[in-house]
Amino acid sequence: MSYLFASALLFALGVYGVLTRRTAILVFLSIELMLNAANLSLIGFARAHGLDGQVAALMVIAIAAAEVAVGLGLIVAIFRHRESTAVDDLSELRG
């Protein structure tokens, strides 16, 4: 039960990071924090409701891996054009 509370607090920390960080890479780190908070609550609920929660957490891990690959590719591509990864500078997507 206490782990579910920890998961809620970790998720809130991730929200704070996404809102305050100003480099795209650090925003991504905060998103990873939120995904892991979701995983922690899935596994906490799996203790009461059976193994399906753990399988779902496995899927979340796989999707997070795909998201990181695409996201970091995007950051590298943007850095090549703009010489910066600050999210404040990226107000338009036109290359």
């Binding site: 509370f5 920890a6 704070y16 890479i25 650090l26 891990i61 796989a62 795909a66 990181v68 950051i75």
Partner: protein, 177 residues
């Protein structure tokens, strides 16, 4: 709450706080690795041993290393750049995330959970039949997603001209660009 549980929670929150507050991106990524290692221990304690090891191998071993690699590649260790257009955004963000925490915690407050399920330790022998039984379609979809993500990542970072066609000086320029 046992002392180990309390210690794990304290470490989780402390490393999470470091991830969102440290100014140096490399330090933040290292704090994220610490967070993931504690999380792996928590998973093992929650009868999810396979996921605990996956957490160490995939997250701490692959994803964060990819992050560190990109941070170093782009010289992006400096977290705070330029001037801050919204000076008062931090207290506002703290307030907003506290609101999110309040909503989530209020959802958990009335909850009664019975910890009686037999999870067989969360070993691969227990997860495998589920993964290739009820969840097969979703597993295939995730596999397809991973393949698409790989193709997209390669296509995104491909240089405009093939590197072999460039002279040495141009190639250096292209790599630095």
């Amino acid at each position: 709450m046992s002392p180990w549980e309390a210690l794990a929670l304290l470490l989780l929150l402390a490393t999470g706080l470091l991830v969102v507050t440290l100014r140096n991106a490399i330090h933040a990524a290292l704090a994220l690795i610490a967070n993931f290692l504690v999380l792996a221990g928590v998973y093992v304690a929650l009868d999810a041993r396979f996921l605990g090891f996956i957490q160490i191998i995939v997250y701490a071993g692959a994803i964060v290393v990819l992050f560190l690699f990109v941070i170093m590649l782009l010289f992006a260790a400096q977290g705070e750049v330029g001037f801050d257009p919204l000076v008062r955004s931090k207290p506002l963000a703290a307030l907003l995330s506290l609101g999110v925490a309040g909503i989530l915690l209020s959802g958990l407050l009335g909850l009664k959970l019975a910890f009686s399920q037999n999870l067989q330790g969360g070993l691969p022998q227990a997860l495998g039949p589920l993964l290739y039984g009820d969840w097969l379609l979703i597993l295939l979809a995730v596999g397809f997603l991973l393949m698409a993500a790989t193709v997209v990542a390669v296509a995104l970072v491909e240089p405009n001209r093939p590197l072999d066609a460039l002279r040495l000086e141009e190639r250096k320029e292209e790599v630095l660009r």
